[in-house]
Amino acid sequence: MNFNFTEENLAKIEALKMRYPDPAALSLPCLWMVQYQEGYISLDAIDEISRRIGTPAMEIYRVATFYTMFHLEPQKKMNVQVCKTLSCKLCGSDEILEHLEGKDVNIVHVECLGSCGTAPVMQIDDVNYEELTPEKVDSILKELT
């Protein structure tokens, strides 16, 4: 399967090249574009990024595997990312995790989401859901599916 950037993304890449001293800086922005375009980052996409910015594909692969938010496989279920770090733990993240158990979602344990003051929290598709209770989790999931 070949990968091609959309016209819109190609234009974005060209515009971004003007904003950095070196096109190598574009690896993260390009990986993000691929992930939003396709839902995950395929090896073909990595080759295409390599062609566009002149960084070896192996290096882009190394980068893609370093950062936890990049998916290198298609995502089958909705990712529910629950913060399990200290402030959330103190405020009941265990209860939220337990409550999610058995539901038709992919539960991902993540580290502090920067919402410690409104703990416990989870993130789904770039949106933080704060001050969670089991009931609140149910209504959020119902809304999203």
């Binding site: 922005p29 993540v110 580290e111 502090c112 989401l113 920067g114 003051g117 933080n128």
Partner: protein, 406 residues
């Protein structure tokens, strides 16, 4: 307790993130008189104000600004650190969502002072919703012609705590893995693609407009002699009203917790507190009673002020569980370059796990301290030494709990 709002002044206004509201409340006014000062004068003001970096280290900002070359054939850059991944910290988020124009104004002043034509804001990947608010403020500033002499570009991270470390941040901005760089022997700027670069925290930069507008003395009127000014301290964990509240350095800790946080949740007793993100040593209740919120006071008890994001733990908290939780975080986030850190974080996590599961022995506690010792001071960045400090602080103050769990 004296109310002080240097950075948070406009936070409560309706639509405070828009140019229109900000302009109606004095936003960008410093830019008009900026050019009547030379770049050197601005740097001197920041130095005189003794502005200390608000990203965790508390390094004097003026000293760092002075390292930037004033006449160089290479372009200079500003990198604003909005990685904000230190657990317990959620203050920069308030700035970029509630007063993003204050940050932009600070960036413009800073870039004028260090002669940079382009600033990057490195923002953690998980803050995408907030990034959009910040981007719309930048777009507004472009439209209003405010960014004619200086560009601002947001660079989004993708989930790696270590990218908050300044050299790792620059590696990441260069398109690489976020691996911290070896520290140079002499004082020098940071480097972005070989160009001199200044890295400062969001809140540090957002403080600059106040100093330029009101002068260094006005800033020093707040806080203590060595820690002047204010900080967006924050409360999370077992408090009635968690949140971010600006206060001056030197404020008694307990007073802050009671005044802004409404005291410990459900009227329980305080047991322990981590003062500024999990990388700072834990304190017991008695220490908290006697401490003030400034760099010097916390250093004196072997902890640090960090980001000022306090995590409060009540009398029912199990300290072994708390330490285990923190060590899991470190184990997950070590970048893996240095052996003591890569191996050590896994090892200490396992040891505390064993104690928590009631399978530990007395030797495990000693072993824990021994491994912690190997992690201190033998690594590229201070991540591993921080882990070491945290472990020692827990065992030192709550040893009986660890022994009781054996």
């Amino acid at each position: 307790m004296r109310e002080c709002q240097i950075v948070s002044r406009k936070f409560e206004l309706e639509n405070s993130h828009t140019l229109e509201v900000v302009k109606a409340h004095g936003g960008y006014e410093t830019l008009e008189k900026l050019k009547s000062h030379s770049p050197e004068e601005i740097i001197q003001m920041v130095t005189d104000a003794n502005l200390r970096g608000k990203g965790g280290g508390g390094a004097p900002a003026g000293d760092k600004w002075k390292l930037m070359p004033q006449n160089s054939d290479k372009p200079s850059f500003l990198a604003v650190n909005c990685d904000e991944s230190e657990p317990g910290t959620f203050k920069d988020r308030q700035i970029i969502t509630k007063d993003p124009h204050l940050l932009i104004e600070g960036i413009l002043i800073t870039c004028y002072a260090i002669k940079a034509k382009h600033a990057y804001i490195y923002i953690r990947g998980e803050y995408y919703a907030y990034q959009k608010i910040l981007q719309s403020a930048i777009d507004e500033a472009y439209e209003a012609g405010l960014l004619a002499e200086c560009d601002i570009t947001i660079h989004r991270g993708a989930g790696a705590y270590i990218c908050g470390e300044k050299s790792a941040l620059l590696e990441s901005m260069e398109g690489k893995r976020g691996h911290p760089r070896l520290k140079p022997k002499q004082k020098e700027p940071e480097w972005y693609f070989g160009n001199p670069t200044l890295v400062n925290n969001v809140e540090t930069i957002a403080t600059v407009p106040f100093i330029v507008e009101h002068g260094a003395d006005a800033y020093k009127a707040y806080g203590t002699e060595k820690s002047p000014g204010t900080l967006l301290f924050a409360l999370s964990g077992h408090v009635e009203k968690p949140g971010v509240y600006e206060a001056e350095f030197g404020t008694p800790m307990m007073e802050y917790i009671n005044h802004y946080g409404g005291g410990i949740k459900k009227g329980k007793k305080l047991k322990a507190l981590i003062p500024g993100g999990v990388s700072c040593g834990v304190l017991n209740a008695q220490e908290v009673e006697n401490l003030t919120l400034d760099y010097e006071a916390l250093r004196a008890v072997g902890s640090s002020l960090g980001t000022g994001g306090m995590i409060v733990m009540d009398e029912d908290t199990c300290m072994v569980t708390a330490l285990k939780n923190i060590l899991e975080f470190y184990h997950e986030e070590s970048c893996g370059q240095c052996t003591p850190c890569r191996e050590g974080t896994g090892w200490v996590d396992k040891l505390v796990g064993r104690i928590l599961d009631k399978r530990g022995t007395k030797e495990d506690i000693d072993k824990l301290l021994e491994v912690a010792d190997t992690m201190n001071g033998k690594t590229i960045c201070v991540f591993a030494p921080a882990v070491s400090t945290v472990i020692v602080s827990f065992i030192k103050r709550f040893r009986d709990e660890f022994e009781g769990a054996l």
